[in-house]
Symmetry: C2
Subunit: 306 residues, 2 copies
């Protein structure tokens, strides 16, 4: 099985109470594809400028991510984002955003990307996301991420885009904002009525919840003592989730979906242990399996002490 | 086994988007004891005024709660609290607080209360909590709840009180505030270094996490479509937790503690389904067992669809 992700490739400047990086590889599509690469073949689609070179490409390729569909824009600059986090690292404080080539991004999928079984639309303007959906066979599995900005400025377009995908990742506040419904159970049902059969509520340090037509599953976040940089946690979650899903035969199986939540949470937990891609790009499958088991122990009702 | 709770008995006036009550039975000790009554013998210790009558007493006694140690203060008024909740019901907006007889409360335990195996100190000024601890055999199991007010105004006293109990219930923000440590794992360890061997982090709509010396367990909240009144959810959680613990032989057993979290979450979930004590006072053990199983299904990694 194969998986394509369309989204931002970026350079990030990030300062947290535990250190600082002036220019490191980042972007939603990067975090997603590195996380997903442990489970399935991944192709990454996104634009870069002249400042994006072999060093950055090798981080992706070193994890087995196919970079053939990265679009290099001559004379352009790669998306740049600068932010810092306070001691309470639940919220990023953006200092600078330079869209660069990402501002003019009009993704055109290659034949190889069009034939992938699974598609993930990282957080982009919803018209652009829909432009990608129009290029693929509607029978393919597709998921998307979005954000409060698009709920504020392009809600109708976002709802139309959501109607075309199988899975939506949003945080609790975004789900409530999108639907105008404060009760999360009712709100996720409203999102499902727009089209998707799966809604994953991202809850940051409190984990994630999976809503399907008939089921509910929730998983707390892994209790980490070391959180150096939360940037990309949500995209790493989505990458672990969809990467695992793409490796399985039946994405409607409740057991498969629950394990996907655990793999997503596992990759997110590793992602935040170090800056940018530094932890996940050096991760081993053995470490992932160990943390999966730690999740199982820490949530088991009859299990031994964790 | 038997359990004593010392804390407020109150009348609450509460308005939420789903209704309003002008004067209903409430208070931490009331919510706690009703929740605990399903598992063990409970005695409630707290002061009431002339406005507290047979009707209120019968709610407690109807659930098997022993009310012999309720202290009636002649000419006094029962603690009164008035608040409302917005559509996002995560926070109560207090409109009025009249401490009444609770303001002068100096608990003196009866012989029967002193001989109880388990003690819960609901949220009271920490000097008063310590006054209760001084009256019981230190070998008894004891737990306490507190709040940001006492961390702000009486931190040293609170830390001293915490050093004398086995279990502390606080929410995430309070644990961070008390310890000055933003990382919750490190912060709970700091609380344990004060004395208790168990810390339960209350996370509201996101559930609860159990920290012990060697273990960690987390449980999401039950996904409710109907939340009418969140008042008393934390005390109902504590009541279900400690009530179940008091019914078991070995409170250091990790399996027992995990089940206690589930029973606590179960009682909290019922509590918020209706105003004040209205849901829990009419609850059956069968309903509790059904919801316990629903929790098991919704968190099981290999379980069937919930």
């Amino acid at each position: 099985m194969s998986l394509v992700v369309v989204g931002s490739i970026a350079f990030d400047a990030v300062r947290t109470p535990f250190g600082e990086r002036e220019k490191m590889l980042g972007g939603a599509a990067v975090h997603f594809s590195l996380a997903a690469s442990f489970f399935t073949d991944v192709r990454v689609v996104g634009p870069v400028g002249d400042d994006f070179g072999d060093q950055q490409r090798s981080v992706l390729e070193g994890s087995g991510v196919n970079t053939d569909d990265i679009e290099h824009v001559d004379g352009g600059q790669t998306f740049f984002w600068k932010a810092h986090y306070e001691f309470d690292m639940n919220m990023a404080h953006t200092e600078d955003t330079q869209l660069g080539v990402f501002g003019e991004f009009e993704p055109k999928l290659s034949e190889a990307s069009k034939s992938a079984d699974h598609l993930f639309l990282a957080n982009i303007q919803p018209d652009v996301q829909r432009g990608v959906l129009a290029q693929i066979d509607s029978a393919r599995f597709s998921g998307l991420d979005s954000m409060n900005l698009w709920i504020d400025t392009a809600r109708d377009s976002l709802v139309e885009t959501i109607s075309g995908v199988d899975l939506v990742f949003l945080n609790d506040a975004e789900i409530r904002q999108l639907t105008g419904e404060p009760n999360l159970v009712k709100a996720t049902r409203s999102v499902m009525e727009m089209g998707p059969s799966i809604v994953v509520a991202k809850q940051g340090e409190h984990g994630a919840a999976l809503f399907t037509k008939d089921g509910f599953f929730a998983l707390p976040a892994y209790p980490l003592e070391t959180v150096k940089d939360p940037t990309g946690a949500g995209d790493s979650f989505a990458g672990g989730f969809l990467g695992y899903l793409a490796s399985q035969d039946d994405w409607t199986d409740d057991h498969v979906l629950r394990r996907a939540v655990v793999y997503g949470s596992t990759l997110a937990s590793f992602n935040v242990e170090d800056f940018g891609t530094e932890r996940v790009s050096g991760l081993t499958r053995e470490e992932i399996d160990e943390r999966f088991e730690a999740f199982r122990r820490m949530t088991a009702l009859e299990g031994a002490a964790a």
